[in-house]
């Protein structure tokens, strides 16, 4: 954080102290695929399967260890049930419809907060990035808040907004706001001055300049913020759902732990991971579509 002190709001790729389990390497780039076009179909499939296997080797290893350690008694299977038991518990939760209900509740909150953040924060970021007086006025406040962990503020949200949905969605919104805001500001501020000069030389006024140059130039950076916010929206929701919720994956994990339904708890955790992974992948795909023109 020290390098950011005193300077304008820097673009934020990561928040310090977070675990980035969702930022797995991209799967699309497959250098082996490019050459040897005359290859047979069978060999191509074989190669693809092999590379897929190679990439998922670490995950497979982890899952195998998860299965073996409790079974051999090295780890107490009460606290860490074998993977097969967890999958079985997850299957039961799916069949009973319970898991679907929790996933639905969580996704609803995450998406609501996430979408609200996009809708409200991008305009704010554009304003701050474009109008220096607004930036001068708000930057100290923003610096203060962005260095305050969202999780630390959770009790405040609960105190003011109660235990209902409003507090949870607002909490997600708050956490999602930062990556979007900071990336939007930096997207606007880092537009190549030469492009602005070139557009100005063609007689564009401030408004058209903003619409035709600043905005399109900032889109990829803004989208990076959106992608990060997407990950946060699921990540932080769990905290909110552990306090005074009656449904949701956070509630499921917490309640299962209290009631000693340990396999259910692990099933909830796995679901969260998969959900986060899926959401991130979706946003990465979208991001790529919006920034085809951006090189390197």
């Amino acid at each position: 954080m020290a390098d950011n002190q005193g300077t304008a709001l820097a673009p934020v790729e990561e928040f310090p102290g977070d675990v980035h389990w969702y930022d797995l390497p991209d799967d699309d780039a497959d250098p082996e695929e490019a050459d040897e076009p005359s290859d047979t179909r069978f060999r191509r499939i074989l190669r693809k399967t092999r590379s897929l296997l190679g990439r998922s080797a670490a995950v497979a290893l982890l899952l195998a260890i998860w299965e073996i350690l409790p079974r051999t008694g090295i780890v107490d299977r009460v606290f860490l049930p074998p993977l097969s038991e967890v999958v079985g518990a997850g299957y039961d939760l799916i069949v009973s419809g319970e898991l679907g209900e929790h996933v639905g509740a969580s996704l609803g909150r995450s998406l609501a907060g996430f979408v609200l953040a996009i809708v409200t924060v991008i305009p704010l970021g554009l304003l701050i990035g474009w109008y220096q007086p607004v930036a001068d006025f708000l930057t100290p406040l923003l610096e203060l808040f962005r260095n305050t962990s969202a999780v630390a503020l959770l009790p405040v949200f609960t105190l003011i907004l109660g235990l209902g949905e409003t507090a949870k969605i607002t909490f997600v919104l708050y956490a999602c706001a930062w990556p979007i805001l900071l990336n939007t500001i930096s997207g606007v501020k880092t537009v190549d001055p030469l492009l602005i000069k070139s557009a100005r030389s063609m007689g564009l006024g401030p408004l058209r300049l903003f619409q035709k140059v600043i905005l399109p130039a900032a889109v990829p950076t803004i989208f990076t913020g959106i992608r990060l916010a997407g990950a946060y929206s699921i990540l932080v929701l769990l905290f909110a759902e552990m306090v005074g919720a009656k449904a949701g994956l956070g509630y499921l994990i917490n309640a299962a732990q209290f009631n000693f339904r340990i396999p259910d708890m692990y099933a909830g955790i796995l679901t969260i991971s998969l959900l986060g992974l899926l959401f991130n992948q979706l946003l990465v795909t979208l991001e790529r579509r919006f920034s085809t023109w951006r090189t390197t």
């Binding site: 030469l194 100005r200 030389s201 023109w293 090189t295």
Partner: protein, 265 residues
């Protein structure tokens, strides 16, 4: 007939942390004739680009006046097109989209816009590259697109700021040739900044030589060849012009270097 009239133009900048202002240009008098190709050479840091910015209306002079067709220049406009050394293409637009940009600024209706953009893309020999993004084009191709963009909205004056300086020698020569033929075809008034004496002599009907900082017009030389056909650079006249300008510039380059040493030390 004069297209651009510049009288007593000076430009000073305030340098941050320094009390005294920094004079980039002072007392510039220059007439650019309608339809002529004027090249402007000078040592680096002599304010060539500043002068171009002033004509483009991107900045205002500290003193003096600039007129275009008798009207004072108050700001940028589509009657002047600027071509920058670093192309300044919009990376999110295709070659065609970039050319359309100026036409959108001019409020040309959609259908005509695409047609006109295509025409100018073909004029610079890139008919087959309409859908390429700038990062998919070579430096020379990018500069062609930039030139086409500036020509498409049909300005009366083309202002070019060392447009070929970043290109390799071969590409530069072929673009120079093409620019000349475009100039002959379109009859635009061109003000072309360069630090290459060869380029200045090859392209310009007149070459204006600037002094070192603060920039002034030192001398203007008429360049006339009997014929532009063949290898112009091999003609003895070419060498004479070249040498003459080189002599005029040498003192200025030396002065610029002294100035640099002084300001660093």
């Amino acid at each position: 007939m004069n297209k651009i009239t510049i009288r007593g133009v000076g430009k000073t900048f305030r340098v941050r942390g320094e009390g005294r202002p920094f004079a980039a240009l002072s007392g510039i008098d220059l007439d650019v004739r309608a339809g002529e190709f004027l090249t402007l050479v000078g040592p680096s840091g002599c304010g060539k680009s500043t002068l171009l910015d002033l004509i483009a209306g991107l900045t205002a002079p500290t003193s003096g006046t600039l007129h275009l067709d008798g009207r004072p220049i108050n700001g940028p406009g589509l009657d002047r097109g600027v071509v920058f050394q670093q192309y300044a293409l919009f990376p999110w637009r295709t070659a065609l989209g970039n050319i359309e940009f100026g036409l959108e600024a001019k409020a040309v209706p959609g259908k005509e816009r695409a047609e006109r953009a295509r025409h100018f893309l073909e004029l610079v020999g890139l008919g087959g590259f309409a859908d390429r993004y700038p990062h998919e084009l070579s430096g020379g191709m990018r500069q062609r697109v930039a030139i086409a963009r500036s020509l498409a909205f049909d300005p009366e004056v083309l202002l070019m700021d060392e447009p070929f300086a970043a290109l390799d020698a071969q590409t530069r020569e072929s673009l120079q040739e093409e620019l000349l033929s475009i100039w002959e075809k379109t009859g635009k008034t061109i003000v072309f900044i360069t630090h290459g004496i060869d380029e200045a002599v090859y392209l310009g009907q007149r070459v204006a030589i600037m002094t070192s900082r603060p920039g002034r017009i030192k001398q203007i030389i008429d360049v006339a060849f009997d014929s532009r056909a063949g290898d112009l650079r091999a003609e003895p006249r070419f060498g004479e012009y070249r040498h003459h300008i080189w002599t005029l510039l040498r003192d200025e380059v030396a002065a610029a270097r002294r100035d640099e040493v002084l300001s660093v030390g």
